[in-house]
Symmetry: C2
Subunit: 220 residues, 2 copies
């Protein structure tokens, strides 16, 4: 019923970075890594990497390290590499178009199965090799293409409504680029990426640095 070890969210969020580093090592012909090497490539502390992996099992050899191909397989299984996840994208503006292309070109684990937009001028055009359908037909398109993940790049005002419809239609994993805080019922997952917020966080750090520079100047 409840899991023996609920895997920390923070761990899950780091798995793709480990996997990427491993794939790169594999491509360069590296057969084994120590936790120190892999941790450095992924930008974390060695102990944290070992702890993260330990949540899933024991894949290393003491005194030696990890077999790269084995670890790729194990982590890959957890983050769903190998499977090809069907993805729906809603909102084919600048950003949506760029993401559609990106997705189609760059990642073999995800396949764009449908595009939706509310603007009649955009419906019927193509992006990432897929024709844009009318957003009004969201439910039918979901039923026909059965996406497991949706990317939302609509204007902020439309996003919550779109997400509600997606969830009702059975799409429970959503990646949101619209600048709004979205709510979904438990059992569904939203992750949001927000350019403006990211920049404001950086601006906070910049402002902080500027303030410190002033203090240092006063001291000297």
């Amino acid at each position: 019923m409840t899991n023996p070890h609920p895997i920390p969210d923070a761990t899950i969020a780091r798995l793709p970075a480990y996997l990427r580093a491993l794939v790169e090592m594999d491509a360069q012909g590296t057969a084994r890594v120590s936790s120190g090497e892999l941790a450095e490539a992924a930008g974390v502390q060695p102990a944290l990497l070992r702890r993260d992996l330990s949540h899933f099992g024991s894949y290393g050899t003491r005194g030696v390290g990890y077999e790269v191909p084995l670890l790729i397989r194990e982590i890959g299984e957890h983050v769903g590499s190998g499977t090809t996840w069907p993805v729906l994208l809603v909102g084919v503006g600048n950003m949506g178009r760029a993401l559609a292309t990106h997705l189609t070109v760059l990642d073999r684990d995800f396949r764009l199965v449908a595009l939706l937009d509310a603007d009649p001028a955009v419906v019927g055009t193509r992006a990432g090799g897929v024709e844009v359908c009318d957003q009004a037909e969201l439910e039918q398109v979901v039923a026909a293409t059965r996406p497991r993940i949706a990317v939302v790049t609509t204007p902020a005002a439309a996003a919550q409504q779109v997400v509600d419809r997606l969830v009702a239609a059975g799409v429970h994993s959503i990646l949101n680029f619209a600048p709004v805080t979205l709510v979904v019922p438990p059992g569904s997952t939203v992750r949001s990426v927000d350019l403006s917020q990211e920049l404001h966080i950086l601006a906070f750090h910049e402002a902080r640095r500027a303030a410190e520079a002033v203090v240092e100047e006063k001291i000297s």
Copy 2:
């Protein structure tokens, strides 16, 4: 020297969401909010909102709540609203172009001051109202336009080198969209946004949901 209260990173990361919710409320003519209302709009618990704000001072009125315009001013000051931050973008591919437009159109706190790309075919074209310069001239462009924040949308292979040059040139805040783990010296900040990683995290949750559905089926 060291700060009296180091403000938690987690708090900083939430400030932009609070600010956005407040700005929306202000636009709708709401003059006051309780922590409960604002917390709901930002998708957090009321106590967490109050704790976050308390790191900066005491802006509310007991028994009443917060004055929306006052709080906008206070939070805005911390995340650098009001100032216009000059931003440089490196790597004018699909994604770079979309972000350049996005940035120019959507946010008054940030201004695109320069674009760089390594591809001679792209140099000289325009995006977001700015002409693309040669990436080889990064140092000169930085010296001339003095960006405080850089957005990196180069291919993965080029990103670390670009970041090294940016940091050396005095740009200490970087938003990375390239699919690599970047390292910067202490005193600089990188934040990374990675489509593929985000999708893999969602895939993990999807896989988990699928597994649970199977378990439930077995029980019934």
